[in-house]
Symmetry: C2
Subunit: 132 residues, 2 copies
């Protein structure tokens, strides 16, 4: 089990549910965006046994804290997560309410000149809103 190690090394017990969620999230070379609800649907389709919503929330937040997932800053009724945890940016199609990845080379370097004393920059994220 390739995710067993990963979980254990992060201090997360490799439970059946977490391993299952890992399969759905990470067992692909394509990264993708999802909401908790998307994830719930995906799991329902892939397997017979269900995972409770509370567990999905717990696990996704645990993975986020460990750096395996990123939250995408967007105003939407649901929170979006990204399995692509590298520094990159997004288009948001306002009409279709869909997120599209922007490669880093599509945006170019962003220099933040201002400094706040005692604070470090954790991330720099660009959201480009699209309309028709």
């Amino acid at each position: 089990m390739k995710y067993l190690e990963k979980l254990r090394n992060s201090g997360l017990r490799p439970t059946k549910q977490r391993l299952q969620i890992c399969e759905v999230l990470f067992n692909t070379n394509k990264t993708f965006h999802f909401t908790i609800n998307d994830l719930s649907e995906k799991i329902k389709k892939q397997t017979s046994k269900k995972i409770s919503l509370a567990t999905l929330y717990n696990t996704v937040h645990a993975f986020e804290k460990k750096g395996y997932l990123k939250q995408i800053p967007i105003n939407s009724s649901q929170t979006y997560f990204d399995t692509n945890v590298t520094e990159h940016h997004h288009f948001y199609d306002l009409k279709e309410e869909k997120l599209i990845d922007l490669k880093n080379s599509d945006v170019g370097p962003i220099n933040i000149l201002k400094k706040i004393n005692g604070k470090k920059i954790k991330s720099v994220e660009v959201l480009v809103k699209l309309e028709d």
Copy 2:
């Protein structure tokens, strides 16, 4: 009444409530960030007559649609609005959960090289997350 014209020109009837909200939001040379709840508190303090929550939501969204307010894309339990509708960016202090303006000159130009057919760029917003 300086806001009466503004509202009428936008096709919004200048009601008592809307004029009141204009006073609170725009009668200052400093721009600021707020949530619906902040706005509600501010109005309670400034006046005796109260405005219902539903009206605050309606009005703020109407103003946003007209371009008098901007939503700030950030994952928070409450939606943040900005009275500064010029193109600019934000720091978000994760610990204090506070937004700080970044002047455009603090970030420099951002070139979006990728194009999506049939879509126009409506806005480009940078969120810089800060940690200790």
